[in-house]
Symmetry: C2
Subunit: 366 residues, 2 copies
Amino acid sequence: MNDKILSISRRTRETPYSRRVEAAGVKGYTVYNHMLLPTFFDSNEADYWSLCEDVQVWDVSCERQIEVVGPDSERLIQLMTPRDISKASIGQGLYAPLCDENGGIVNDPVLIKFASDDWWISIADSDVRLWARGLAQGFGFDVQIREAAIWPLAVQGPKAEELVTRVFGDEVPGIRFFRSKMLEYKGKPMMVMRSGYSKQGGFEIYLNDADLAEPLWDELFARGQDLKVRAGGPNLIERIESGLLSYGNDMNYSHNPFECGLDAFIDLDADIDSMSLPALRALAGKHLHQLVGLVFEQPVEFAGYAVIADNRVVADVRSQVWSPRYRKYLAMAMMRRDFLAENQSLTVDGKIGRIVDLPFDFDAIC
Amino acid sequence: MNDKILSISRRTRETPYSRRVEAAGVKGYTVYNHMLLPTFFDSNEADYWSLCEDVQVWDVSCERQIEVVGPDSERLIQLMTPRDISKASIGQGLYAPLCDENGGIVNDPVLIKFASDDWWISIADSDVRLWARGLAQGFGFDVQIREAAIWPLAVQGPKAEELVTRVFGDEVPGIRFFRSKMLEYKGKPMMVMRSGYSKQGGFEIYLNDADLAEPLWDELFARGQDLKVRAGGPNLIERIESGLLSYGNDMNYSHNPFECGLDAFIDLDADIDSMSLPALRALAGKHLHQLVGLVFEQPVEFAGYAVIADNRVVADVRSQVWSPRYRKYLAMAMMRRDFLAENQSLTVDGKIGRIVDLPFDFDAIC
């Protein structure tokens, strides 16, 4: 497909940063949680090098925070995820698949225990709010559920810690991965977490006052000039190289977490009331597909998404990109496990691709 | 904002018609129910005249069909909407807001009673499936809920009946508005309903076999050549002139159906088990805002969406467009009712706009 224009309307919601994003020269968007998500400013490749070498500021307001408050908040959250959340501490983030009664993945958010009766679900692209409200209504839980007025801003890249420290102070370097501190910006405390959708390191600032969006953006750019700060967004090349999953791309509601290699986030033996656990216990080891990496030495033209071998569809290509760093063509594909058991490679477009585990291990591959 | 590129991926799902849509020269898309929706092919205005004078074929696959099957299907559907569905007949479509326990609008779909235990929810842009599954799980309803493999294709415009009759036969003209017949295409029966998101007349074909998408598309174009058939999509000019609401644009989850003028679709006195009715009964007549039309004689530049008068925000502009037919600038705005009670006009950008009821009555306006 050639480039197409995105028709923007109120339904594809703008963010408090949108004017700055536009002024920074955004060229592409996607729509994520009914909201604009900037995808690239210069080009995917130029943005990639800036992210890996310096520091970028990303408008990730579309990571909407579904806030669940009330006496039954933890009970509802636990019902929605097969990961045991009972030991989470205040301010901690937990990556956790949300799964329905069949084990299907509804979303793969970061759960944040903001206070003992106040959980935030930092969602990927599906209306988790509606699912949570349906469950709460049906089970009669005592909770309030809302999309909070929080507008996350990510600062990502090797120089992110330096930049965020300049703006938020000396407590920043002491924040551990997926932990947060409440730090003041212009007198207003807001959550700063070491997290973000890249493997280049960085932070997410959970801005809680839309009026501070432009001042914060401007200050990050003013203080980061010598660090070569640029506007950016989740980068297709970097996230595939890093094996970061994207809900809706690499997996969706029709998949279960075993197929996606999310076994570590399922507490099969935990004594918790999670609606997906019975189904997941029955599924364990019996799932038919596995998300794998494919590595080709040259660019590959997939004909559609289905990969055919032995006269049957053996894989469904979910994401793909040329890696300028490794000079390889990388794909993520949902592959039949019976094919996987007997093959370490496959042929697409006349080129042989290696089948590898995710995340990609470039020391082994190169 | 200048034109931006839409970054397309698996998450912004393609449809069985996508290759034909691309070949027809689509220039813009939006993302709707996580799926590509073509917005224009030539220009909004050229597409508008083609729609109003001839006939267009629209890929509206993004009108996903959430199918609710089982003994409790009608009970669940009724719980979700304040419209009394008990008298619906098989094959009938019912426009019906879905509302939560606070009266907030979750979606404004067309409900279709496909069979006595089989309802289709032809959804606007929100994940109704998740809400329905949450409710069904919590209440313990005996239903199956799935996004059906149905790919609606709309044929719209004054020549639509002629074109659909040529392809589906002589039973087509006898189909009444929002009624359907099961008609065969290449030996396969599929639902054909007189409906669609324009006021130019037409049909929606609920294609149930993706392999027939391209043959159907091709046949409509081959048989419609003399009717000047064109590819199109929901047209911003036409839908605003016609006062057709767009969920996410003109209203969202924060609004209730009274604010949107949907009173006719709320059966306040019905003896039905609908979760929103208690809240809606309490709200009736007490809602603070009303969706109205604004009419300006010249193009208007709104500064943002908030309209200020008497030093306060009196309206939130939701949709706007220049009407080439009426030579007026039209907007739909959510307005404070106390302002509305005392004003028949307001000033924006130095220009006076009339405040009118929706849908626009151009005989009165012009």
